[in-house]
């Protein structure tokens, strides 16, 4: 991953009447980075992705792809960008090869270059065996792979994937995840939105959380967690006298939400790592039998739930 921004959203606004679908969004995505775009339905993810894909123009602001404006140089942006929308967009009476061949021609690929592109894409998306199969006979997972193939047929440096894993079975999801990671390893910059946050957490280098058209947080999951969440979840296993420990913890001002489950005590601690070490020392000095003490890692789902308010417009 390089430090050169390939996608640069600059104070992007998109209004539909009184609805502010996208409201002052700015972020950058570096070359070779997989950027997860998450938010509830109606948050403005698809609108901002459509602007980036040159399917719409912003009311204010601009978005740059490889330094070219989506408003002023859409043709140059399109040459660098592959877009996979949240619908299939396939033709009747066409098989997989014809479909990809058509888009390869539409992107200006000619002769051997087109044939090579077709061969590569069909191999990458594992559609070789389905080349002559009519599109209408494909399963959802196969169609999704075909659409990914279409998006990358002209070898774009940027891929915009809107809900690529929606409706896929676990195997297809894992395969898709692997493909996306592989593309990123080859230097492609990928902006991907999804509702399946565990998927995103595994494949994304950074995420942006959007709600009501506003970008609430951008960074790695850990960065957002640090920036947005001031307290961390701690799990401790106490061998004896658990109620006394719980009562002792309850008296402290830096501890909240104490839950006892057998020998396990879970609680929220407000403070830095050093203060957590101090807490452990104090527990041992108070002669509590602490067998285990550790910070519970928050998932992207936890971060998402904490950052967003579940409000739609």
């Amino acid at each position: 991953m390089s430090d050169r921004p390939v996608i640069d959203m600059r104070r992007l606004h998109r209004f539909f009447g009184s609805t502010r679908a996208v409201n002052d969004i700015s972020f950058e995505v570096m070359q070779g980075e997989v950027f997860g775009y998450i938010g509830p339905n109606g948050a403005g993810k698809t609108t901002s992705m459509r602007i980036l894909a040159t399917l719409d123009i912003p009311t204010y602001g601009d978005a740059l792809v490889d330094g070219f404006s989506v408003i002023n140089d859409p043709d140059r942006v399109r040459r660098r960008l592959g877009f996979m929308p949240d619908y299939f967009g396939t033709y009747a009476d066409v098989n997989c090869r014809e479909y990809l061949d058509f888009f390869a021609r539409a992107y200006g690929l000619r002769g051997n270059e087109r044939r090579r592109a077709l061969g590569h894409v069909m191999g990458f998306t594992k559609l070789d065996g389905l080349a002559e199969k009519p599109i209408r006979g494909l399963s959802k997972g196969m169609k999704q792979r075909l659409c990914l193939g279409r998006a990358m047929i002209h070898d774009p440096s940027v891929l915009i994937l809107d809900e690529p894993a929606a409706g896929l079975d676990p195997r297809a999801r894992i395969e898709l995840r692997q493909m996306i990671r592989e593309l990123a390893d080859k230097g492609k910059t990928i902006l991907v939105s999804s509702h399946i946050l565990t998927e995103l957490a595994e494949m994304c280098d950074r995420v942006g959380i959007i709600e009501r058209g506003e970008l609430l947080a951008v960074g790695t999951v850990a960065e957002i967690q640090r920036g947005q969440i001031t307290h961390c979840q701690i799990k401790a296993r106490i061998i004896e006298n658990v109620p006394a420990v719980a009562a002792w913890l309850g008296e402290r001002s830096d501890i909240e939400n104490i839950r006892v489950d057998g020998q396990l005590i879970r609680f929220s601690h407000v403070g830095e790592t050093g203060e957590q070490a101090k807490l452990l020392r104090e527990m041992i000095l108070a002669e509590f039998a602490v067998a285990e003490f550790g910070i519970e890692q928050r998932s992207l789902e936890d971060v998402f739930m904490h950052v967003t308010r579940g409000v739609v417009q």
């Binding site: 033709y91 002769g111 270059e113 590569h120 070898d155």
Partner: protein, 556 residues
């Protein structure tokens, strides 16, 4: 990385021979032919290739083609049976050709244009248009691809019936000129209707409007086909047709042909403009086409004026452009005056360039001025033609100056009404967004009110039965022009003067409000853009090339 940068592409690792080897042809001649065909295929519009592949597998095409063949076969049997036993000695070609012509017109004039409409409308409904629009294809390529596919279907239908039509020639009674004339004009009509179908497909995305428009289009196609078929069948069956020997007939055909071609191009440009990217220049090409049509009109009218020496041509000379420019102007004035930086990069730059070509820029003020300038040109040419005949003592000399009053009044009315319409639109724009449709409706409303108001007012004063032309009818352009043509306006000499003065004032007022649009100057193209262009197309170095003779080499 660019799509065309093959050497750097990861795709370069594949072996094309393993991907699509095809059938190996041993003989070098066949190999050369195959290579030539392949090269030709690479140059074809991708939409055409895709549509051809789809069409060959589609039920609609298979059913239509089968029905066409079946109908041709049935008519061959039935027609010969009806002509028997005279078919052996009497000419029966005309009778048989009428039947085949009716069979051909239905797919060519109804199904093909409707398929073109559905083809583009379905792309927008199914979301595939969005995927197409972000490829390297321009909106014009998308529309011409659809049109090409429609033309391919036409040719297939023509070839299916060609043996039957050849058979009619063998039956005698019909000559090659008639057959070619029929087939050619039906082909032209089909192309024109297909372009109209494509325009209709781009009008709206809303599903309910699409359904309504599809029904209206189908009804229109059926009516046109019926009229067309009946007209041409009467031409086929009429044995006394001598028009083919008349030079004027072929001149008229040539004029109609240029009309059809220019309108087909115009419709393609409109459809392409409708589906182009929001920051693109959607107007300039259309204005150029309007100018081309105007030039064609002037050319043909001058020719007919010289050739037929008929005074009525002068009225025709200006009336059609007056209606044409009123409609065009009402649409052009609906354009927003906001130019995207993308459009500003290609604005005329030099003083002379800006003076001549600013009126081709998008915007309501430039649109109004462009309309007025064109109509004034028509007026000047018409007046020059009339006066030349009058002063030169030509046979075509009208003999009085009624035509002059008519021509100048027609121009003045358009300038006045469109000018008022634009001022109203400018006022409405202070309140909110004004679309092109609303602008058109405002102008239509003004034209109707201008006629209806004085009529009702005078009728209210004098009674309906005793109403006669008076100065109150000044805003009634229809009645005033009729009076001018009849030479009755001499007793109301104040009317033309007021109309001319009002038109002049309104025009100047509009020119004042168009200053913002005229002041727009070219923006410098970012350095990155020509560099990128050079990387993609190293042979086409646009940076050193001037876009027009009016261009200056350095950007301001």
């Amino acid at each position: 990385m660019s799509a065309t940068d093959a050497s750097a592409s990861p795709f370069a690792t594949g072996d094309p021979s393993k991907i699509d080897a095809g059938v190996a042809l041993k003989h070098p001649v066949w190999q050369a032919i195959e290579r030539a065909i392949e090269r030709g295929g690479e140059r074809l519009n991708p939409i055409l290739v895709k549509e051809a592949r789809q069409a060959l597998k589609s039920k609609q095409f298979v059913i239509t083609f089968t029905l066409l063949l079946l109908a041709g076969w049935v008519w061959s049997m039935l027609g010969v049976a009806l002509l028997s036993p005279g078919v052996y000695y009497a000419p029966g070609g005309r009778f048989m050709l009428s039947g085949y012509f009716i069979i051909l017109t239905i797919p060519v004039l109804v199904i093909v244009p409707f398929s073109a409409f559905r083809s583009l409308a379905a792309e927008r409904e199914d979301g595939t248009f969005e995927l197409l629009s972000i490829t390297a294809l321009s909106s014009r390529q998308i529309v011409t691809g659809k049109l090409g596919s429609a033309m391919l279907q036409m040719l297939v239908y023509y070839s299916a019936l060609s043996p039957c039509i050849a058979f009619t020639y063998l039956l005698r009674g019909v000559d090659i000129v008639t057959i070619v004339f029929l087939l050619f004009w039906t082909l032209v009509a089909s192309v024109l209707l297909s372009t109209i179908g494509l325009v209709v497909a781009t009008v709206t995305r809303a599903r309910h409007w699409q359904v309504l428009l599809s029904v209206l289009l189908l009804v229109m196609l059926c009516i046109v086909t019926f009229i067309w078929t009946m007209s041409f069948v009467s031409l086929i069956t009429d044995t006394q047709v001598t028009a083919f020997d008349d030079v004027d007939f072929w001149l008229a055909m040539a004029a109609i042909m240029t009309f059809c071609i220019s309108h087909a191009v115009m419709f393609v440009l409109i459809a392409a403009a409708q589906i182009s990217f929001a920051s693109d220049n959607r107007s300039t090409k259309l204005r150029v086409m309007l100018l081309v049509q105007q030039t064609l009109w002037l050319g043909w009218m001058m020719l007919f004026w010289i050739r037929f020496e008929d005074k009525t041509i002068l009225y025709f000379f200006v009336s059609v452009p007056a209606v044409y420019w009123t409609l065009a102007g009402a649409c052009l004035m609906g354009e927003a005056a906001i130019l995207s930086p993308r459009v500003k990069r290609s604005l005329p730059q030099s003083f002379l360039g800006r003076m001549c070509f600013t009126w081709f820029n998008p915007g309501s003020g430039t649109g109004y001025t462009f309309t007025v300038a064109n109509l004034l040109t028509v007026g000047i040419v018409t007046v020059a033609a009339g006066l030349t005949a009058e002063l030169g003592g030509f046979a075509a000399a009208p003999g009085n100056l009624d035509w002059l009053v008519f021509v100048t009044l027609a121009v003045a009315y358009v300038v006045l009404y469109l000018g008022i319409g634009r001022l109203v639109v400018l006022l409405l724009r202070q309140l909110g967004r004004v679309t092109m449709l609303l602008t058109f409706l405002v102008n239509l409303f003004l034209a109707v009110v201008g006629v209806a108001m004085p009529l009702f007012f005078q009728a209210w004063l004098e009674g309906y039965s005793r109403i006669s032309y008076s100065i109150v009818q000044m805003t009634n352009w229809a009645w005033t022009l009729e009076e001018a043509a009849d030479g009755n306006l001499l007793s109301f000499s104040l009317v033309p003067i007021i109309i001319y003065c009002s038109a002049g004032v309104v025009f100047l007022l509009n020119l004042l409000f168009a200053i913002y649009e005229v002041e727009q100057v070219r923006l410098v193209t970012p350095e990155r853009v020509p560099r990128d262009e050079h990387e993609i197309h190293p042979r086409n170095d646009d940076s050193r090339r001037r876009a027009s003779p009016w261009d200056e080499p350095m950007a301001t």
